[in-house]
Symmetry: C2
Subunit: 415 residues, 2 copies
């Protein structure tokens, strides 16, 4: 089909829905605070559910609060083609993270109604419970439960800092549903697509509106403690020091070098570092810091782990300090389904939208869903790559382009 | 004189005085909290003044609370030979820092009385107000005022966190004296000697009881701010980062390299470092840290300053961050008077005490007094080089050796 005849979403309506949803939990600086399972989350959920019902979708809620809204297909026995994301936000979050994927999916449904297009397979819009993990851990809770990684009882038993459980919080907001977690009417999704802002600077730097996401980096997180000995900065010669911060500084640099050696997908970050006693003229006796290593392959992550351990041991010995490394989190690398990735790429091409293949450096619900169904993701640029921040912003034409690609990709699988 | 005939101090009495004074403000872990111009400081001062009076010394107090206790000489017009240190402590201080120098001086007086030794020049014991600078700044307040660096009015106007002034605090404890600051009966000291624990590990590592202190390192302190941009650790490729902590880590390493290149007297320390936002999976957008550079010569300090500025600029440019460097403190290097340094060395040799020349990495009252009078210092080892800590400790035989050297050095100038 010539690209001028392809169906297009209603860009103005999608943008307006993003702005309307962004008013629920709006912050003074233009962001959103709609933390999972709070009163604001309930109001956001109620709004999106109302929109789904207005669009004629059949809504069901599962036992961990994931919400599914289905548009019937002509073949009632066909597995659904699904899309979705999340509407919970960080405490200082933005209007687009997650919300864009959910409302782009809603806009796909609305557009198909406008154009009178029926599909063979049912279409399904999902918003997953507690992707951000701000109030309750683990993060990506709802999609993880859907994928079978977290049992519903485990999820219900998780508590926030005040001792409130997920189960009680779901009941309090009216979203502890009855549908069994992980069961999909008509069988597991034939395909799942998630549109999302990139949350990074790659597309903006490249000047491209669409990122075709081929997979997501695996992640290994560590807590590291370096123990030296406090001593006075003046009277202690360099050769007799046990300077925990000097050693830690060299380790921070080593993390970067190790990531550089795994270009283009290796990432290494020290985001947290605490010095003790942290006094101007005292040589630090103790430093604690985090390490976040990411790579696209298991082998790559293993190489980074080994290189880090070797580098840290050498640095510690040279600096006469002790180092202790504890791995605290691991997310496996994820390769999305070629059939879905190809659909996204074809959709962008057919629409004449400039695009590039990218990988997701962050976790997304799609990474868990990919363990159950063929999955793909569509990225659009966000301003300055900023996300998890009230300054998060995106351009209306990129938002529209992402939703157009989502529509095409879903149609390819649902026709 | 053969060393066996040289007068010796009473080691048991000196140790007992140290233990007795250490009970005033004693902490549960064996340390001392006797912060300048508090009730504990008053009790400590009253105790030492009482001991001075018991030893027949004539006590006077100057307008900033420095206490002078004089033993008359046979030549009433001769300038005094002085010794001293401080008795205020850090909040988690030890029994020896400062206190050793004061009580070693007192023990010199007591010993001369015991042995019936008269001197030509008067001998004077001083304890200086607020060396530690814990409650009131600047540090080394009393000796700095004596040296003419701080006017008495300026000193009196300094306030603590509760708004209490030094002037009011001196009055409250009864130590706002009337003697003019910086004036010494009979003229400025002919010599000043200060005995002190080393507060570092050099003597202990060398296995020597006496350090002949040739001078004190100059110090330049800086506040540094590195500004990059917060970003997500996952989605942000290395090449597009503005990682303030990675840059700061390389700067910490550069400070060390610059100090190493100025061996043996160069010191470079980053004791304080604060990361923002300091979150595990966020690339840090801002890091603030301190730099403490020390060296024995003005030229050496200038070279370190220039090397640091050049290194930081290069690191910042390479890491795509901004760096701001503000110098906040400068203490000039100090070379003690050769006549006094030689006396200390000769005293140790005549007593058969193994010794080495050392420099003081820390500031001491002696550094300010040296601006007015020929000055020398005597160091003795402290356990593990630890000071400003309740674990601070020293061996009785080293304490005795230091006081014996002080006695000899003072006698050489006072006979």
């Amino acid at each position: 089909m010539d690209q001028q005849y392809l169906p297009r979403i209603n860009a103005g309506r999608l943008w307006q829905s993003l702005m309307d949803l962004g008013r629920i939990g709006a912050t003074p600086k233009g962001g959103v605070c709609r933390i999972a399972l709070t009163e604001e989350d309930k109001r956001g959920r109620d709004q999106v559910v109302q929109w789904c019902r207005d669009a004629g979708l059949a809504v069901r809620v599962d036992a961990v609060g994931n919400v599914f809204a289905r548009r019937a297909g002509t073949d009632p026995g066909a597995p659904a083609v699904a899309t979705g994301s999340h509407i919970d936000t960080q405490p200082s979050g933005g209007k687009f993270d997650g919300n864009f994927g959910v409302l782009a999916g809603l806009e796909v449904m609305r557009t198909l109604d406008d154009l009178g297009i029926e599909t063979r397979a049912p279409l399904e819009l999902v918003f997953w419970t507690n992707e951000e993990g701000t109030r309750f851990t683990p993060v990506m809770m709802g999609s993880g439960a859907f994928a079978g990684l977290f049992a519903p009882d485990f999820v219900h038993a998780q508590t926030d800092r005040d001792g409130v459980s997920v189960g009680a919080a779901l009941e309090a907001i009216g979203y502890r549903g009855t549908h069994p977690v992980g069961e999909v009417p008509g069988g597991m999704f034939a395909a799942y697509f998630e549109a999302h802002i990139e949350q990074g600077p790659v597309l903006e730097a490249a000047g491209l509106p669409i990122g075709v996401v081929s997979g997501a980096l695996g992640q290994q997180w560590y807590d590291v403690t370096v123990t030296g000995m406090d001593a006075h900065a003046g009277p202690t010669p360099l050769a007799l020091r046990h300077d925990a911060l000097l050693a830690a500084a060299r380790m921070v640099d080593a993390v970067n070098r190790i990531a550089v050696s795994e270009a283009p997908h290796g990432r290494g970050t020290v985001g947290y570092l605490q010095v003790s006693p942290n006094s101007r003229n005292v040589i630090p006796g103790r430093v604690e810091f985090s390490v976040d290593l990411r790579n696209l392959s298991h082998d790559g992550l293993d190489r980074m782990d080994a290189a880090m351990r070797a580098a840290f041991a050498g640095i510690a010995e040279h600096a006469r300090v002790e180092v202790e490394i504890r791995q605290v989190v691991k997310f496996e690398p994820c390769a999305f389904a070629p059939a879905c990735v190809d659909s996204v790429r074809r959709a962008a091409a057919s629409l004449g939208l400039p695009h590039m293949d990218v990988v997701s450096g962050a976790g997304h619900d799609a990474v868990y869903v990919a363990q159950r169904a063929p999955t793909g993701m569509i990225f659009v640029p966000c301003k300055d790559g900023i996300s998890h921040n009230e300054l998060e912003d995106a351009m209306p034409e990129h938002i529209a382009a992402g939703a157009d690609v989502l529509l095409q990709a879903m149609l390819e699988h649902a026709r």
